[in-house]
Subunit: 328 residues, 2 copies
């Protein structure tokens, strides 16, 4: 791998801008490793971003999110659009190297220069999943990808910061995803823009379709009514329709300045999420490195100091903020 | 409610210490409202805590966590133990006022002075759910409750900070909780200490039992093998066995200093979670109140400033930290 050493900052910027998959791969590796060079690349490339359309794909593990993305690719490519896929799902088959075997010819896509697929390890990333994902999406955007899929696992709110950058959020469920249905009903999971009920061959798929419909019917006033598509990723069934529904949501957003408004909100939320994650990392390091702060925790354990006063001392020492946590 | 005005700090401390339910209720209301007096009470009462045994009850919405807790109460009371219940689950029937009707005579427990049940609204709490829950548990502990149940909704990791204070974590599932099963299998959800598969009358309950067993068998080396109990909260079936299994976990922890070690870890994690949440709130307020920081976000939107440099500027301004987010 002598080539590694030859990636100067200039060559990386130029390479990503030209859509060179090796440059993009190298840049995303820098992101994974929290390398400061990644932030420099993003800073330099940021003015050339904003063209890609980002589709967030979320849902519980095991519902077939990766298969669904793989099966969508031919339909995206049929429109002449180039594609980037970033998976930040540790349980994703994209992360396994071996991928989906012969069920879906994902290997075909690996040979297509207009398709870039990458799973990212982000354990220990300084700015958390949100920062790593944001950087990867911006790099793929700068590399000229027309559509960027972001895959993340989730059954509640923890995935929100990962797909916070998405223009369209696709939730994938399967028959048996009762927990997700209950979470949607209880308002614990946010209503997505498009829903796929995968594994439609399962006899319970139609029941689930009815359930999801009845949940969405509880709020008939929303401007966008999320379409629900029964799919079978393994056999490519209804994938064209699913891609059309994602396109319909895009068309909806592109009217009346909605897309711009959504992106403004997304960006502000992402910046906030990354800043929060960075602050948390900073705090974690300060507490583990600082003998005095460790002594504070010890005195909490001995019940000499209460936990909230400990929080107050830590925040004061680490961030120089007095938030009144233990005032009085 | 003239009595409200008569709650001085001294009378509250005295009232909570004496187990007066009105004092406890008033103190928890102060917690809900992020009243600084709540932190003062906790500070004063903290040295008298550490006696209560905390049981965290988590699981997806709709599986019957509240019913299960209610059905456990007679078994806890039969041992002469006093009980506190805090629910921080917005979808919990405890939050609805009406409770469980005639299915479970929870109203009976309301008349029992040794049982204190309270659902907490924590939306907008400065220190997040973690802080509010921690304070409520400490107050119930100081009030002399022998056992404190903490109910929270969750299907992944977001609930961890709420039940982070628990000595024993009980996960409640039901037939159809396939998403949770997949999350356990994928390592996205932490393995709890005890598992209840509720709604055992459902023919799929035994299949789920087998599935959970096979997941736990993947890791045969853990010192504590989580027991799985089929329950039917609505008819009180196997609740005695469930309570025995929770007791068995307690006995296990009480050997070889495990309980002390777990509480040390829990307390450190809780202090860290509360400090993180406070830092996040501080950040949120700073960004929304500060015209300069809002201008930073605007320039991100116009692609004049990249998001990571914006994060850097915000962290520098709000926390005076330079974490190298945009160094170079």
């Amino acid at each position: 791998m002598a080539g590694r050493r030859n990636w100067t900052r200039e060559r990386l910027v130029e390479g990503v801008r030209g859509g060179d998959p090796r440059a993009v791969a190298r840049a995303i590796s820098l992101v994974e490793n929290s390398d400061p060079l990644a932030a420099e690349l993003v800073r330099e490339l940021y003015p050339s971003t904003g063209r890609a359309y980002a589709v967030g794909v979320t849902g519980p593990p095991g519902v077939g999110k990766s298969s669904l993305i793989a099966a969508l690719l031919p339909h995206v490519r049929a429109q002449g659009l180039s594609v980037g896929v970033v998976s930040v799902d540790p349980s994703s088959p994209f992360s396994q190297g071996a991928l989906l075997g012969d069920r879906i010819r994902l290997a075909d896509h690996f040979l297509d220069p207009e398709v870039f697929i990458r799973s990212m390890g982000t354990r220990g990333h300084l700015g958390g999943l949100a920062e790593a994902t944001l950087q990867a999406v911006l790099l793929l955007d700068a590399a000229g990808k027309d559509v960027v899929f972001v895959e993340t696992v989730g059954t509640g709110q923890s995935e929100v910061e990962v797909i916070g950058i998405a223009d369209t959020v696709l939730l994938v469920l399967m028959p048996g995803s009762d927990d997700s249905i209950q979470a949607l009903k209880a308002g614990i999971m946010e209503i997505p823009d498009v829903i796929a009920v995968n594994k439609m061959d399962n006899p319970a798929a139609k029941t689930m379709l009815t359930e999801v419909r009845s949940i969405l019917a509880l709020d008939p006033d929303r401007a966008w009514r999320p379409p629900i598509v029964l799919t079978e990723a393994a056999r490519g069934q209804n994938l064209e329709q699913l891609w059309k529904e994602i396109g319909a949501h895009r068309t909806f957003l592109e009217q009346d300045g909605r897309l711009e408004e959504r992106r403004r909100r997304n960006l502000a939320q992402e910046v906030f999420a990354v800043a929060s994650a960075r602050a948390k990392t900073h705090l974690e390091r300060a507490v583990s490195d600082d003998a005095e702060l460790r002594r504070v925790l010890d005195s909490v354990q001995r019940r000499e100091l209460d936990p909230l006063s400990a929080v107050h001392e830590i925040l004061d020492k680490v961030f120089h903020i007095d938030d009144g946590a233990a005032s009085g």
